[in-house]
């Protein structure tokens, strides 16, 4: 039995704060493996495939070429820069049965061939006697682009150590973002090249894609708060922590809310002056910037789950 006096004396003593090396501490730890280069690879894949598929649907070959180059040049360069052993990167095709990165790489290889053939067919550089064959190539190129658009979400879903990523909402959210980014870049390209287009109709579709993205982000953040403590910690970092400024100002306000207001205004006024390519392309550029910042926030907020309860 410890006497009251002894208890008081011990409580008045300085707290014994034993140094624990960082590697041995049990706490929430944000991942540091994937940084800006990896995010750029994801971003260029999303925006490129979104633009390619939409340009296919609208029959805009210029957009298809830009989308193809974004995926095949910028995305792949970013992947090679991210890899510490780029000369071994061909090994990425080894595990398509279980690995989503491997599956996505098959999508990229298929897209490299089919996308190029599709563009060549549309430009008249290659001709097939059978029109159905051209259609098949086009559809397959679109499917390959969709695989690239979708696989990255599944890569995150398979990250079992990071509860914030380990959710089936993530692939849907990334697809929604890709479509919105595709519309954004399509509008910017059409406005820049002064191509004749129905901007009123595009404003409506862009608005829907932005609203879907915003809804997915809201749903995702709401769900993640209740999944686990580490996912809640990641949400806290985004909403109130070190990434709050980038998340709120960049990803949400500039990337979603302002473009929604601008395109909504364009659509509701209905006048060609208000619904011009210039106005919409401003919304488009903000969306492109906001999506990049959102993906950066999403990756940097990945908090690994401690092996035992830290509380």
């Amino acid at each position: 039995m410890i006497s009251n006096e002894a208890t008081k004396r011990m409580e008045s003593m300085p707290v014994y704060d034993r140094h624990i090396p960082e590697t041995c501490e049990i706490h929430y730890r944000t991942q540091t493996d994937w940084k800006l280069v990896e995010v750029l690879a994801i971003y260029f894949g999303g925006v490129g495939t979104g633009l390619y598929i939409l340009s296919q649907l609208f029959g805009y070959t210029g957009g298809m070429i830009v989308g193809y180059l974004l995926v095949m040049v910028l995305k792949n360069i970013a992947h090679l820069l991210a890899s510490s052993k780029p000369f071994r990167s061909i090994r990425v095709l080894s595990q398509p049965r279980t690995s989503w990165i491997s599956r996505g790489s098959y999508g990229i290889f298929l897209f490299a061939v089919l996308g190029l053939l599709d563009i060549a067919l549309r430009l008249g550089l290659v001709r097939f006697d059978n029109a159905a064959l051209s259609m098949i190539v086009s559809v397959l190129a679109g499917i390959a682009a969709f695989v690239i658009m979708a696989y990255i979400g599944f890569v995150f879903t398979e990250a079992r150590n990071i509860d914030f990523w380990h959710s089936s909402i993530v692939p849907v959210m990334f697809i929604c973002h890709s479509v919105a980014m595709g519309y954004a870049l399509l509008i910017v390209l059409l406005a820049l090249t002064q191509t004749q287009a129905d901007f009123y109709m595009l404003a409506w579709q862009f608005l829907i894609s932005l609203a879907a993205s915003a809804l997915m982000v809201y749903t995702f953040m709401s769900v993640m708060r209740h999944i686990s403590k580490s996912a809640d910690e990641a949400v806290r970092i985004l909403l109130h922590g070190k990434l709050a400024m980038m998340f709120w100002a960049g990803a949400i306000v500039a990337g979603l809310l302002v473009p929604i207001c601008v395109t909504g205004y364009c659509y509701l006024t209905g006048s060609p002056a208000a619904c011009s390519g210039l106005t919409l392309s401003i919304a488009g550029m903000l969306t492109l910037l906001g999506a990049l910042l959102f993906q950066l926030c999403f990756v940097r907020a990945g908090v690994s789950t401690p092996i035992v309860n830290v509380d």
């Binding site: 410890i2 208890t7 011990m10 409580e11 034993r18 624990i20 590697t23 041995c24 501490e25 049990i26 991942q31 493996d33 994937w34 991210a82 890899s83 510490s84 052993k85 780029p86 071994r88 990167s89 090994r91 990425v92 095709l93 080894s94 595990q95 279980t98 690995s99 989503w100 990165i101 491997s102 790489s105 890569v155 398979e158 990250a159 079992r160 150590n161 990071i162 990523w165 990945g302 690994s304 789950t305 092996i307 035992v308 830290v310």
Partner: protein, 200 residues
């Protein structure tokens, strides 16, 4: 068929880090890289203070997420349950580190010497294994196990907190300990079925 496994007696572990040091010596890991580490957590306030030590390494799961998610096939599982890693196949995607629920996979970004005088002969030997820019992890000291010895961490543990043996043999020390002491797996809910059991 043998299935190698390990038990960690949480009552015996005193957090001395001898296993971590033995592992570093055996595997020649550069500064900051630990295939085995002893995590510790101090909880509560005086007089109800508790310090917990949990020695951790690769769990050699029956259903290892690293093997499934590694796109280059660098991780593979042997018939005896040991999950191994081929440095020469890794291209540095690092998805394994995010897939592993036990934080057991290290990534050797850059190899630096321990001492300002430069690399020691043993460090030079390990540097020749071209591990820079690849993942790395515990291999249950399979080279020792194959010649009838025990992993370095098990051999050096001063309190006998670590035991190594065949989980498929009901008469092995590890099987008996798991049965008698109610050994449990960490994060068993994930269904990875680790080969390392913790004894409460």
């Amino acid at each position: 068929m043998i299935k190698w496994g390990m038990t960690v007696d949480l009552k015996r572990c005193i957090g001395c880090q001898t296993c971590s040091v033995a592992c570093k010596m055996k595997n020649g890991t550069p500064p900051g890289i630990f295939f085995r580490r002893v995590l510790e957590k101090q909880t509560g306030k005086y007089p109800n203070v508790k310090r917990t030590y949990i020695t951790m390494s690769c769990m050699h799961c029956a259903d290892p997420p690293c093997v499934a998610q590694c796109p280059s096939g660098a991780f593979y599982k042997r018939a005896d349950g040991v999950v191994l890693f081929d440095t020469n196949k890794c291209y540095g995607a690092r998805i394994c580190r995010m897939a592993c629920p036990y934080d057991a996979i290290e990534f050797i970004e850059k190899v630096e010497p321990y001492y300002p005088q430069g690399f020691t002969p043993i460090e030079k030997y390990w540097n020749n294994q071209s591990r820079e820019g690849t993942a790395a992890k515990c291999d249950f000291c399979i080279d020792l196990v194959e010649v009838g010895e025990k992993p370095a961490c098990v051999k050096t543990c001063p309190t006998d907190a670590l035991k190594f043996g065949d989980l498929n043999d009901p008469d092995s020390e590890v099987s008996k300990l798991i049965l008698d002491r109610g050994g449990y797996q960490l994060r068993a809910e994930l269904g990875t079925n680790p080969s390392v059991y913790y004894l409460p």
